[in-house]
Structure formats: C-alpha cells, structure tokens
Amino acid sequence: MAYSEKVVDHYENPRNVGSFDKSDATVGTGVVGAPECGDVMKLQIKVNPETGVIEDAKFKTFGCGSAIASSSLATEWMKGKTLDEAEAIKNTDIVQELSLPPVKIHCSVLAEDAIKAAVHDYEEKAGIAH
C-alpha cells in the first residue's frame, strides 16, 4: 500500500514520542485499542491546572504506519489547546490531514478515542465534572 507523504513523514519522524509519569496529577493518560487488533495507542497530556491548557503531549503506539502517524499528529494538535478544544478534534480531521485511505480510517478513530480518554483521565484526577 502506498502511504501519503504526511503519513511517511510522521512515521519516519514521529513527534512527541515518550511518556509522562502517569501518577502525576497534571497528567492525563489514555490507552486504547488491543494487541490482538494490531493497534494500541497511549496518549498522554500534561495540563496546566491554572489555565486548563494542554502544555505538552506524548504518545507511544503499537500499530501500522497510519496508526503511528495519527497519534503523532494528535499530539501536535493537542498542544496549546484547552481540554474542550482537544476533545473537539474529530477523526475526520485526521483522515483529511493525513489522506488516510478507507481501510485506515480505524486508525483515526482510535486516535480520537485516545484523545478523549486522556482528557477524561485528567478530568477525573482533577475532579472536574463532565
């Protein structure tokens, strides 16, 4: 399968690879997917408790090139956004940005789920009702 240039770029130079301490109160962690499905994404956000802005984001992904690119892109997009803004990121935006083919749409869905899971994890820790 031919990948789009942007997928290849994110795959070869993934942005924001790594992990934060998930016990840190300012960190939200989302882990989605399952090994038997071939995709597991871990997305983490570091939130400024004063402003509610995501100051940093990191990811690790087990999955195909499109899954790696989707999560790499998600971390880029989340940085500097408020929690609500981050939650508004749609999988279709990722599909469009990376020109994902139909068989790879599930990668973008997973990325959206990971964003939401990370935000919810932070909110739960911070006691923010949702």
């Binding site: 090994p35 038997e36 071939g38 195909c64 090139g65």
Partner: protein, 406 residues
C-alpha cells in the same frame, strides 16, 4: 559488490526466472510454436519433443517416471486435481480425508468444498514446532480414509513435515498420500518412491521457472492412482488434464528442474549459512525476537521471525527496501493475523509482528548483512515507540490487561 535495491527476500512467494531457463524457452515461443498434440507434422513433433524432454527433467528431479507427470497451470490446480480427483474417484471406498489446519489455502479450500459435499475430514493440528508427525496421521486413519493431504514444507514457516514416515504409515494402511511440495521441490532432494508419496504438487515459479506452469505427480505403480479429471476436453495428459499444452512454459519448468537438480545442494548449503547468519544476527541484538517453527526441521532458505510488541506492517514500512512477507495480514485484504502462526498457538501480539525472510539463488551475503542491520535498528526504534514494550519493561503482563473492544 554494491547492493541492488530493493532487496528480494520473498522467494517463498515466487522466484525470479533463471536467465538460462528463458533461453531454453525462447525457441518454443518462436520457431517451435507447434501444438504438442499435432502428430502429423514437424511443428507438432518439435513441440512434443520439448515437452517430453521437460517431462523427463521434472521426473528426474523427484525420482519419478516421466509418464507419472501431469502438466497443470500451477500448484493450485495440481492440489485441486489431486484432492478432488482422488476423492471422487475413490468415493466408493470411503469418504474420509485427513489434512492439517495450517496447509496452504489451495489445499484447505478444495477439502472444505468436499466437506460441504458430504466428505468427513480430520484436521490435524501441529505442535508449537509447526510439524505434523507420522504418529498423528496413524492415529487419524480410519477404515474409510481414502486420502491424506499434507504439505512437505510449510510456506510461511519453512517447517518440514515427516513425509517419508507419513508415507510409510499411509502405505501400511492402504491410504493415498498427496503432498503439496510447492516449497520443497527444487530446493531439497525429492524421491517419491522412497517417501511413499502417491500424488505430489509443485510449480515452476517457485524454483526459478516461469509462472503459470506446474505439475502433478500421479503414481502409476504400486498402486496405480486414478483421478477424476477436473477439466474435460481433448483427453491430454492421459485424460487427467485436457487442454493444449503450454509448451514454452513446460520447457521452462523442465529446464528449471534440471538446473535445480544440478545446483540445489550447493544452493542449500550456501543459503543455510546465510539463514543462520540472519537468525543469529537478529536474535543476538534483539533478545525478544522469536524464530517460529521447529529449530532445525526447516527449509534452508526460509525463516519466520516474530518481533513481539512491534506491529508487522509498521516494520515492513520501515524496511520497505527489503521485500519480505509479513505474518500480519494487514498487507492483504483482511485484518486477521496469520492462521498458520495461530495454528502454532502463538499469541496474537506475536502473530501481528512476524516476518518471513525467503532467500534464494540471487541472495548475497551483503544483502543479509544489510537486512540484519536494518531490521535491528528499526525494531529497536519501534520498541521505543511501543506502549506494549513499555508495559513489559514495567513488569506488566500484557496478557492480563483488560483491553478495550475495537
């Protein structure tokens, strides 16, 4: 010698045609274009001579008589003819067949069709080593068993079934043995007499011949095996496979067979060393890597290695200048992990990240050195990216994690 990219390490899928084979074929496209069935003119005689010569070459490669070779379009047709043809011919004797769950689809699907038509099938399961033993076959044979169909070497793993031992069991029980020897013939010494094989499928393009032409060995003595034809028509190939013979293709398969007979032992020694180098080079640097299938009972040119916690397709993408095949079926239409690896009882996360390396006549040591380096570097990179590997490093057993549904 400078490496030519991309590097071809997918010889279990197909092999490049040997230029010496093309040379033999060319006259039969041009001057000697006759129909091998034209008995009354020189064009037909020339074509027939080419076919007869090729039949003798192929027979010699597998220890058969030339009269026992039936030309087909390839191994898929050979498997269909052997399985369906024998099942139908001997239906009055019984309707029980024996095969294994990790056979090639070209064996599984014809048998499954027969199953729908009322045949009973015993599906043997390999151990973790990927091998079917003679004991398993012995235990599965019943009074109404007519055919055992087991591959000589597995296409994904390169593992070798105990065909001569299985042949002896089948002989003693008066049951026919068909073997899909697509990965075996031309690579390893083959003697259908010594192995007690009654039907054997092979195809030219797996041993440096042309695509679109293969053969089925059909035993003529002790016992004389008869088959119901799949294709009716002019009665070619002793009535077992009608249709004008693909003379250039057949000549090519014969030429490729002769070259293999002369060169395969040297090839096997050279490729066996390269395979060892590849396996040792990778496992020395990546201690999580697992070589699939039996440690020694494997083809000299094939290895299948799992990289747990790394996803297969992303690894393929990282090493895209090396043409290999991935156990992750993300490369094909479905998202299912390989059924062959699953048959070995591998966990899904293993099955999702395995690569088959298939070496061949054109493979060089430089290519293997490059491959080791490229695979090691990129697996390490993907491990750094892998949340599963991180969990394992933290001491978490990922099999006990409750994963979300997706």
């Amino acid at each position: 010698m400078a490496i030519q990219f991309p590097i071809y390490l997918d010889h279990n899928s197909t092999t490049p045609m040997d230029p010496r084979v093309l040379e033999e074929m060319t006259p039969f496209f041009l001057n000697d274009f006759g129909n091998a069935s034209s008995r009354n003119h020189a064009f037909g005689w020339a074509a027939e001579k080419g076919v007869d010569n090729a039949r003798a070459q192929v027979a010699s490669l597998i220890g058969a008589s030339p009269k026992e070779i039936v030309w087909t379009s390839g191994a898929t047709e050979s498997n269909n003819l052997a399985i369906k043809g024998a099942a139908e011919m001997y239906a009055s004797k019984g309707k029980h067949l024996i095969s294994a769950i990790h056979e090639h689809k070209a064996v599984l699907d014809p048998i499954k069709r027969l199953q729908k038509q009322g045949y009973e099938v015993t599906w043997l399961e390999p151990g973790e080593d990927g091998i079917i033993t003679a004991e398993q076959v012995q235990d599965a044979i019943r009074d109404d068993t007519v055919l055992v169909s087991l591959m000589w070497a597995n296409n994904e793993l390169g593992t070798i079934n105990q065909i001569p031992e299985i042949g002896a069991v089948c002989k003693s029980k008066d049951v026919l043995l068909h073997t899909d020897a697509t990965q075996w013939v031309g690579k390893m010494p083959t003697d259908v007499e010594a192995a007690g094989v009654d039907l054997l499928s092979a195809t030219g393009h797996k041993f440096y011949g042309p695509k679109g032409c293969g053969f089925l060995y059909v035993r003529r003595r002790r016992p004389r095996v008869r088959l119901t034809a799949l294709i009716d028509g002019g009665g070619h190939e002793r009535g077992m496979r009608s249709g004008t013979l693909n003379v250039p293709g057949i000549v090519g398969v014969g030429a490729a067979a002769a070259l293999c007979e002369a060169e395969m032992s040297d090839d096997a020694i050279r490729l066996g060393k390269l395979k060892k180098k590849l396996e040792d080079g990778i496992t020395a640097k990546l201690d999580m890597a697992v070589i699939n299938g039996h440690p020694t009972e494997r083809l000299p040119h094939t290895t299948n290695i799992s990289f747990p916690y790394v996803e297969g397709e992303s690894l393929m993408m990282a090493i895209k200048e090396i043409a290999v095949s991935s156990g992750s079926a993300c490369t094909s239409a479905s998202l299912e992990p390989s059924y062959v690896l699953k048959a070995l009882g591998l966990g899904d996360e293993l099955a999702h990240s395995s690569i088959r390396f298939g070496m061949g006549r054109i493979t060089t040591e430089e290519e293997i050195d490059y491959t080791i380096d490229k695979v090691v570097t990129n697996v390490q990179k993907l491990l750094d990216l892998s949340p599963l590997w991180e969990m394992v490093q933290e001491g978490i057993d990922i099999n006990t994690v409750e994963w979300g549904a997706h």
